[in-house]
């Protein structure tokens, strides 16, 4: 802690035994880095002393722009072997003292900074320093590498100069560079997709370490980059000297626009006693350079533009194709689904079709048995073949049958029922209807006819009458079944299995044939029931 106080305390006031020489105020002692102390002209202002630097723990710099004479002294702690110390003093890089041991006879005890601790102290020299750079190098022969270097800069610190910019870009082999050497206050730099790094090259000076670089986004006024270090790799001046440079990743420039490069000495202008330096004056030390950055994303060459356009077109085209494909696939799926639905409907239809009333079947057989038992062999044969034809039709999986086939089927059926109930029936047709070539779903009418027999005329016996018509009405096929029975209540749900099956069958047919082509109308009245089935646009 004491050492830190010793080195960095802003001001150490001590009573010096040395008399004033050449106008130096020996009562005002400044820390000067390492073990050194200094005293300067009593009139001197703006003394920036013992400035330290990142990564340079043993180097300090004191900037003394208004000093004429400088006294440098050294303080040793009592436990230090002073005899092992050597010092070198250079004026403007020319040695005036080289590796000289401390003159032990000149050492005096002193309190540094009013501290209780007593140091051994001696003056290394008093120099006229105006316009010069004094450098001291001090080390112990025990550790000859640990050289404390103190620089006393007694002339204006020069402004850093940007010599050039360099852009790095990717090539097939690796990377290559483009140079911008004609540097004014403002440089336009376009960074393409392939260019990934920007290098700023500064002029060489003895005090490069003093300068630090920052980059400000002029739009937001924010510092987006700061560096206190310099690279000395590969960029060589015409004098074969390695030039200080810094590499800046392109990505710090988020947007195209103006950026300011600021290179300035790391002196805190306000951080000193009796400092009287105006912002205007400090500006003299600062290098400002405006970069106008244009990023590749917004600026395309014609060739790039073409390729991007081509790429965009390709992507859009691809998307289009994909969407088209998806739609096609979906449609296909839909078609398959519809097909499946249709198939299910067909299956259901088949199962309904197969449900020819077993009551009828067995009663019909019973009727035939009766004919046999009555020895009406011819009639038995006739009805047996009718029964066989009817059964075959039910068992047949035919989807469509011609109207003439349907007529035969109904004839067979009605004649079988006649055998049971003894009613009359007619099947009438429009003259202009081609019975042989017009087809309808098989077993379409049978359930209605069965209903007419069962609920219509079975009680009326020989007075019963059923009339069936096949009519052409424009393009529609109209099929009607009327009976002169007592009619039935359409409100009554329980109108027999046959009618229920027929209704669901017509719904199924409509789902298969679409556009609701099948319409069923039931007109019950006290003197009979009429059922009309219209097949729209069927002919």
């Amino acid at each position: 802690m004491k050492k830190i106080i010793f080195i960095f305390l802003s001001l150490i006031v001590a009573v010096s035994t040395v008399n004033a020489q050449k106008g130096i105020n020996f009562n005002h002692i400044y820390a000067a880095g390492g073990k050194l102390l200094m005293c300067v002209d009593s009139s001197a202002k703006n003394v920036f002393y013992a400035i330290g630097f990142p990564n340079q723990p043993r180097t300090t710099l004191s900037y003394l722009p208004e000093v004429n004479n400088l006294s440098i002294s050294i303080n040793f702690r009592k436990n230090i072997n002073i005899r092992h110390y050597r010092y070198t003093i250079l004026i403007d890089s020319k040695p005036i003292v080289l590796n000289k041991p401390i003159d032990m006879t000149q050492l005096k005890d002193t309190h540094a900074g009013g501290d209780e601790e007593i140091f051994s102290s001696t003056t290394l020299g008093i120099f006229p320093v105006k316009g010069k750079i004094i450098t001291t190098l001090i080390y112990s022969i025990d550790k000859p590498q640990d050289i404390d270097k103190a620089v006393f800069y007694v002339k204006p610190i020069p402004r850093a100069k940007i010599l050039s910019f360099r852009k790095r870009f990717k090539t097939n082999q690796g990377v290559d560079y483009k140079w911008i050497t004609d540097i004014k206050d403002r440089t336009r730099i376009a960074l393409t997709e392939k260019e990934d790094e920007l290098t700023i090259v500064k002029d060489k000076s003895d005090i490069d370490y003093l300068y630090y670089t920052s980059i400000k986004d002029k739009k937001t006024n924010k510092i987006i980059f700061k560096s206190t270090t310099w690279d000395y790799g590969g960029i060589i001046s015409e004098d074969h000297e390695a030039l200080p440079s810094i590499n800046i990743d392109k990505n710090i420039f988020k947007k195209s626009g103006e950026y300011e490069i600021i290179i300035q000495p790391s002196i805190k202008w306000t951080n000193c006693l009796d400092c009287d330096i105006s912002p205007k004056e400090t500006e003299k030390y600062i290098t400002r350079h405006t970069l106008v950055i244009t990023l590749a994303e917004e600026s395309y060459t014609k060739k790039e533009l073409y390729s991007y356009a081509l790429m965009a077109a390709f992507v859009i085209g691809l998307n289009f194709l994909l969407i088209l494909h998806a739609i096609k696939k979906r449609n296909k799926k839909k078609v398959v689904e519809q097909e499946q639905q249709k198939n299910t409907a067909k299956l259901q239809l088949n199962s309904i079709r197969a449900q020819l009333n077993p009551h009828f079947l067995f009663n019909a057989l019973s009727g035939i048995q009766n004919l046999m038992n009555k020895n009406e062999i011819d009639n038995a044969n006739k009805y047996l073949s009718k029964f066989a034809r009817l059964t075959r039709n039910v068992l047949d999986d035919k989807e469509l049958i011609s109207l003439s086939q349907e007529k035969t089927l109904l004839d067979d059926y009605l004649q079988m029922e006649q055998l049971r109930f003894g009613f009359k029936y007619e099947i009438n047709r429009s003259e202009n209807l081609d019975l042989d070539n017009v087809e309808i779903p098989s077993m379409l009418l049978q359930p209605f006819v069965e209903n007419a027999v069962k609920h219509g005329i079975s009680k009326k016996a020989t007075n019963g009458k059923i009339v069936i018509t096949f009519t052409k009405q424009a393009n529609d096929l109209v099929l009607t079944i009327s009976d002169n029975g007592n009619g039935f209540d359409t409100e009554k749900k329980n109108n027999g299995l046959g009618l229920q099956l027929s209704a669901s069958r017509i719904a199924l047919l409509n789902s298969i044939y679409k556009e609701n082509r099948f319409t069923l109308a039931i007109q019950p009245s006290t003197n009979g029931t009429k059922i009309s089935l219209t097949l729209t646009d069927w002919l």
Binding site: P358, H359, L361, F362, N363, L365, S366, G367, I368, Q369, N370, L371, N373, K374, L419, R420, F421, G422, K454, H455, S458, K459, A461
Partner: protein
């Protein structure tokens, strides 16, 4: 035997008459009817010994005829083309029935049986039983009529532990330790009682699951009944029996 024929179709009446005249000379047909009202009238008028009754008559049933009669002192042979519900109830009541077209042998058998019953002068409760059963939903049938040699037993299904085939006969084992031999095949009772949950474990065995105590793994599967009897489960029935027992 005085007989009456009831059917809504004239050809059926004709047919039945022809067959009876030819094969069952002991039957004398008093009258026929084609609807329920006529049927009730002629039954009351002729007091027949035997009634041939069509089940499905237009929108009504032959059962309706029975319901309209205050006394039923006659044997009934049901005739039907196709009526599962009716037949099921008829079977539970152990009544006779004929299917159209009529099988001559079955007709002769049925007439003989009726004649036998009339001879023993058993009071005919089967028709009452039938009408009772018809009032209930089919799955709720709780009693069955068992036709024994000289009597009809009405047994609650819950009383039946198991049935065992004995040639063409079926032996019923009741919870009262009673055994009843009935002159019908086990298959008929299996079909009749399966809807009530009875398990056909074996071609010779029908078991009421109520009386199953446990499943023994020995010999590929055996049911131990609460009565202590062991009933074999044949291989093809194993899975269905197991499943049914798990659901209990």
């Amino acid at each position: 035997m005085k007989a009456i024929l009831i059917d809504d179709e004239i050809s059926n009446l004709e047919n039945l008459r022809t067959l009876l005249e030819k094969h069952c000379p002991q039957v004398s047909i008093m009258a026929t009817a084609q609807n329920i009202n006529d049927a009730v009238d002629i039954i009351e008028k002729y007091s027949p010994d035997l009634v041939f009754l069509d089940i499905q008559m237009g929108e009504q049933t032959g059962f309706d005829v029975l319901k309209l009669l205050p006394t039923r002192n006659f044997e009934v042979i049901f005739v039907t083309a196709y009526d599962q519900y009716g037949i099921q109830a008829v079977k539970f009541a152990a009544l006779d029935y004929l299917l159209k077209p009529i099988d001559i042998e079955e007709l002769i058998n049925a007439v003989n049986k009726a004649e036998h019953k009339l001879a023993t002068q058993i009071q005919n409760l089967q028709l009452d039983f039938l009408l009772q059963q018809l009032k209930k939903p089919e799955t709720n049938i709780s009693k069955i009529a068992l036709q024994m040699q000289s009597e009809i037993r009405y047994v609650a299904l819950s009383e039946i532990i198991r049935c065992e085939a004995d040639n063409t006969y079926t032996r019923f084992f009741l919870s009262s330790n009673e055994k009843i031999l009935v002159s019908k095949s086990l298959k008929e009772y299996a079909d009749l009682l399966r809807p009530s949950g009875f398990l056909r474990t074996h071609q010779s065995h029908l078991v009421n699951p109520k009386y199953v105590k446990s499943w023994l793994k020995e010999d590929g599967g055996i049911l131990l009944l609460t009565s202590g009897e062991k009933i074999p489960v044949s291989k093809p029935n194993k899975d269905t029996v197991k499943q049914a027992l798990q659901q209990l």
